[in-house]
């Protein structure tokens, strides 16, 4: 006699294993990517209103609540960066003939590029202001 039994998928499936939870946190990083993008639009908009408006905006952002919020956001952005770089060699494997370039090499190369870009960003910001 055939009477297949279907087990329901629990709504909390993403709490069942650390890998699933980490995946959910990775996806949640999208909220902060959106947030920081919109924050930057606000920053430029305030700058457009003049030096005084910009100073007031940055003064508000000095509040401990804002700083804490941005630190949490930074942590999620770093999770995004870490997971994105880690999966890049899977998405776009680099081959030299039959040989695959080791994942570690590609991951390290991305972090080096990040380091260079970061230094340029800070130097530009500090030098021009």
């Amino acid at each position: 006699m055939r009477r297949p039994y279907r087990r329901p998928m629990p709504k909390t499936w993403w709490l069942k294993h650390p890998h699933y939870t980490l995946f959910m946190l990775r996806e949640l990083s999208a909220v902060f990517v959106i947030y920081f993008a919109l924050w930057t639009v606000c920053l430029v908009q305030r700058a457009g209103q003049g030096a005084e408006a910009l100073s007031r905006f940055l003064q508000t952002m000095k509040g401990p609540g804002w700083i804490l919020w941005h630190l949490i956001g930074l942590a999620f952005v770093l999770l995004h960066t870490y997971t994105w770089f880690a999966t890049a060699p899977k998405v776009m494997p680099v081959r030299r003939g039959a040989e695959k370039v080791p994942d570690g090499v590609i991951i390290a190369a991305q972090w080096i590029v990040l380091l260079i870009v970061s230094v340029i960003f800070v130097v530009l910001l500090a030098a021009t202001t």
Binding site: K11, I34, Q45, L74, F121, T129
Partner: protein, 113 residues
């Protein structure tokens, strides 16, 4: 089954993922934390000139466009997978619609500086 038009949004998602992975750590640290705290000292007038520079405004627009579509794409799948399968179509419209409006606002801010 027919081929999906998903590449249209996935390419924006992937581009946004790569750009934000690379630039957003230093961007968030420097602009949203170190600058308000005064660790990076900046003269207000010079800062206005820096943020208003055409290259920074272009960067801001690209970051908004790709970042918003990257975020919208992930948010769409996450909301659906958290149990809102029945609302998949409105969620899809809301996510990409929001990203489009956000990008247009960013474009307007960049152009009207």
């Amino acid at each position: 089954m027919a081929r999906s038009n998903e590449p249209a949004v996935w390419s924006l998602f992937a581009g946004g993922g790569a750009l934000t992975a690379l630039i957003l750590p230093v961007h968030a640290l420097a602009l949203t934390i170190l600058l308000p705290l005064g660790v990076i000292e900046a003269d207000s007038e010079k800062l206005v000139a820096f943020l208003g520079h055409p290259l920074f405004r272009l960067y801001m627009f690209v970051l908004a466009l790709l970042g918003l579509f990257h975020g919208a794409h992930r948010l769409r799948f996450t909301l659906i997978d958290l149990g809102l399968h029945a609302l998949a179509t409105p969620i899809t419209w809301l996510c990409y619609g929001g990203a489009t409006i956000g990008s247009l606002v960013a474009l307007w801010v960049a152009v009207s500086f």
